[in-house]
C-alpha cells in the first residue's frame, strides 16, 4: 500500500461496495449490501445497536472477518486482492481491550509493525520517541511494561502502536469504551487533536451516540446489518431519515446539535460597550450547549464571549443558540457562512 513508509501524512480513502457478510447457518446477513465511501483523512463513525453489524463491517476492512459478497477498497485497491498479512500491516487497529503485549516494553509494543516490516533498529527507536511525544507520554516510558500504566495511558500506547509504521488507515473498535468518563473525554479530545495533525482515514465503531457526534466527520447508522443513514452528525441530527434514527439519536437531538459548534465558530452580536457589562462571561472555546446551559443556570438570556486573550468578542443570545438547535433547519451551516 502506498504511503506505508511515509509516517503521518498519508491517508487513503475507504470504499465499501455492496458488502455482504453471511455466517453459515444463519439466515439473516450480519451485514447486507453495505455501500459507503469514506474520504481520505476523515473519521467515519459506524454506530448502531448491538447486532447492527457495525463491528463486523469494520473488521472486514482488514479481513479479520471475511467478506461474503462485494468488496472493500482501500486507496483504490481491493482488500481481497492483497496478501492478508501485508494488508493488516498497513492498517492500524485499536480496540477496547487494547491488546498490548504484556511481555514487551512499550517501545517493543509500538515497534511491532515496523519490526515486521524490517525497519532498521535506530529508525524504529526514533519513531517510537516521536510517537510517545505525539500521544503525550514520556520518553522514559519506552522501557516500561504495559502493566505499569493506567487504562488511559495504555490506550494512548495502543493508538501510538496503530500508527507506528505510518499506516494511512486506522480501525478503532470502541477504543475508549473501557475507561472512566473523565479519562474518556480526555482521550477523545486528544485523539481529535492528534487526528487534526496526522489526518488518517479512521473507521470508528461505537454504540455511544454522544461519542459518535463528537468524533465523527461522518456517521453511518446501521440496523440489522443495513445502513439506515449516512451523513454528517449535523445532517443526521437535523434531518433524521426515519423514526428509528430520530429515536436513536435521542429526543434531545436539538441540544446535541449545539455540541457541534463552538462559540468561536458562530457570528456574535457586537460587544455593546458599557451597555451590558452585567452579563456573565464565557470563553469562545466553549460549545454552544455549554453556553446554553450557562444561560439557563444563571437565568440570563445572553452572555459576553471572551477571546483567548480574555478580550470581549461579542455577545451571544439565547435566540441565536435556538437558531442552531432548530430541527427544521438543516442548512444552518449555510446561513452562518452566508
Amino acid at each position: 500500500m502506498e504511503g506505508v513508509a511515509d509516517p503521518d501524512t498519508a491517508a487513503a480513502a475507504i470504499e465499501f461496495r455492496a458488502v455482504t457478510k453471511r455466517y453459515p447457518g444463519r439466515s439473516a446477513a450480519a451485514v447486507r449490501e453495505l455501500s459507503l465511501s469514506v474520504p481520505a483523512g476523515e473519521i467515519c463513525v459506524l454506530i448502531g445497536p448491538s447486532g447492527s453489524g457495525k463491528t463486523t463491517a469494520m473488521k472486514m476492512v482488514n479481513r479479520l472477518i471475511d467478506i461474503t459478497e462485494g468488496d472493500i477498497t482501500v486507496g483504490g485497491q481491493s482488500v481481497r486482492s492483497l496478501d492478508v498479512t501485508e494488508l493488516r500491516r498497513g492498517i492500524g487497529y485499536v480496540f477496547q481491550q487494547i491488546g498490548l503485549f504484556p511481555h514487551m516494553s512499550v517501545e517493543d509494543n509500538i515497534g511491532t509493525v515496523p519490526r515486521l516490516l524490517g525497519w532498521p533498529k535506530q529508525r524504529i527507536r526514533d519513531r517510537v520517541g516521536e510517537l510517545l511525544e505525539l500521544v503525550g507520554l514520556e520518553q522514559s516510558d519506552a522501557k516500561r511494561y504495559p502493566g505499569q500504566f493506567s487504562g488511559g495511558q495504555r490506550q494512548r500506547i495502543g493508538v501510538a502502536r496503530a500508527m507506528a509504521a505510518g499506516q494511512p488507515i486506522m480501525l478503532m473498535d470502541e477504543p475508549f469504551g473501557a475507561v472512566d468518563p473523565i479519562a474518556r473525554d480526555r482521550l477523545q479530545n486528544d485523539f481529535l487533536r492528534l487526528h487534526a495533525e496526522v489526518r488518517k482515514t479512521v473507521i470508528f465503531v461505537t454504540h455511544d451516540i454522544d461519542e459518535a457526534i463528537k468524533m465523527g466527520h461522518r456517521m453511518a447508522i446501521l440496523r440489522d446489518g443495513e445502513l439506515v443513514q449516512y451523513g454528517t452528525p449535523d445532517e443526521i441530527l437535523a434531518t433524521p431519515a426515519n423514526d428509528f434514527i430520530a429515536d436513536f439519536v435521542g429526543a434531545d437531538r436539538g441540544l446535541k446539535r449545539l455540541l457541534l459548534r463552538k462559540l468561536a465558530e458562530i457570528e456574535l452580536a457586537p460587544a455593546a460597550n458599557g451597555e451590558r457589562d452585567d452579563l456573565p462571561t464565557i470563553d469562545e472555546d466553549t460549545c454552544l450547549r455549554d453556553a446554553l446551559s450557562m444561560m439557563v443556570t444563571q437565568r440570563v438570556s445572553a452572555l459576553t464571549v471572551l477571546g483567548t486573550a480574555g478580550e470581549r468578542r461579542g455577545t451571544v443570545s439565547m435566540e441565536s443558540l435556538a437558531h442552531f438547535a432548530d430541527l427544521d433547519r438543516a442548512d444552518a451551516d449555510a446561513e452562518v457562512e452566508a
Binding site: 492478508v84 498479512t85 501485508e86 493488516r88 481491550q97 487494547i98 504484556p102 509493525v113 480501525l171
Partner: protein, 245 residues
C-alpha cells in the same frame, strides 16, 4: 523374582561398612552422622554419584521437554489431540517407579537408557499440561492484536504465545525437575548410579552416615536446582514482576 530384584543392588556395589577396625569410633558405633567418613568419601563416592544424578535428571527433563513441547503444540493447534495425549501421559505417570525401572530391564537391560525411558515418561504429563495451559491462557486480546497487526501464525507463536506462556512453562519445568531428582534415586535400583546408589547400600547395611549423606544431598540438589530455575524464570519474564511506579 526376589533374587533377580536384589541382584542389581549387589552389582551396584559401593562402600558398605567393611572398615570397622580401621574406622573412627563414630563409624564403628554407627552414630547418626560421621562427618569424617563423609568428607573422606566425598570425592570417591558422593561427588561422582551427585554428578550422575544431575546427568540423569538433566537428560530426562531435557528429552521430556522436547517431547511434551511438540505434543503440546500439536494439542494447542488441534483440539482432538488433547485427550489421547493426556491419556497416554497420565497412564505412564501412574506406573509405580520401582516397577517401571524393572519393567524396562528385559527390553533395554540394566542401562542408563532404561532409567531414562522411565524418568522421561514421568516428566511428560507435568510438562505437557503446563505448556498447554500456558498457551491456552494467553490473553485473547493479545492474540487479536497480533492477528490484526499482520503477524503470521508462526510469528504469533514465537513472539507472543510462547513468551506469554513462559511462566506456566517454567512452573512445569520446576515441578518436573524436582520430581525427577527425587525419582532418580530409585533408578539406582537398576544400577545406573546417582545418589540412589549410596541410599540403597545404606538400606542394606544400615550405615546411617551414608544414608543421611546421600539423602540430604538429594534434597539439597532439589532445593538448589529449584532456586536456580526460579532465577532463570525471572530472567526470562522480567515483565511479570514489573509493577506500577
Amino acid at each position: 523374582m526376589l533374587a533377580q530384584l536384589a541382584l542389581p543392588i549387589a552389582q551396584g556395589g559401593g562402600p558398605v561398612i567393611p572398615t570397622f577396625q580401621r574406622g573412627s569410633d563414630c563409624v564403628r558405633e554407627n552414630r547418626q552422622f560421621c562427618w569424617d567418613w563423609f568428607s573422606s568419601h566425598w570425592s570417591s563416592t558422593f561427588q561422582p554419584r551427585l554428578i550422575e544424578h544431575i546427568e540423569l535428571t538433566a537428560i530426562a527433563v531435557g528429552i521430556g521437554f522436547v517431547i511434551a513441547f511438540v505434543a503440546a503444540l500439536v494439542a494447542y493447534r488441534w483440539d482432538w489431540a488433547v485427550n489421547p495425549a493426556t491419556a497416554v501421559f497420565a497412564l505412564v505417570y501412574t506406573i509405580p517407579s520401582l516397577a517401571f525401572f524393572q519393567l524396562m530391564v528385559p527390553f533395554t537391560g540394566l542401562t542408563r537408557l532404561s532409567a531414562e525411558i522411565a524418568l522421561v515418561s514421568y516428566t511428560l504429563l507435568i510438562l505437557f499440561r503446563n505448556i498447554l495451559t500456558g498457551l491456552r491462557e494467553v490473553p485473547a486480546d493479545a492474540l487479536e492484536a497480533a492477528q490484526a497487526m499482520g503477524l503470521t501464525r508462526r510469528q504469533t507463536l514465537w513472539r507472543v504465545e510462547l513468551p506469554l506462556a513462559m511462566p506456566a512453562i517454567m512452573a512445569g519445568i520446576r515441578i518436573a525437575t524436582v520430581t525427577i531428582i527425587s525419582l532418580a534415586t530409585v533408578a539406582a535400583f537398576i544400577g545406573v548410579g546417582g545418589l540412589g546408589e549410596p541410599i540403597f547400600n545404606a538400606i542394606q547395611t544400615g550405615f546411617k552416615t551414608q544414608f543421611i549423606a546421600a539423602g540430604v544431598l538429594a534434597v539439597l540438589l532439589a532445593l538448589v536446582t529449584d532456586a536456580v530455575l526460579v532465577v532463570v524464570q525471572r530472567l526470562l519474564t522480567p515483565w511479570a514482576r514489573a509493577k506500577v511506579g
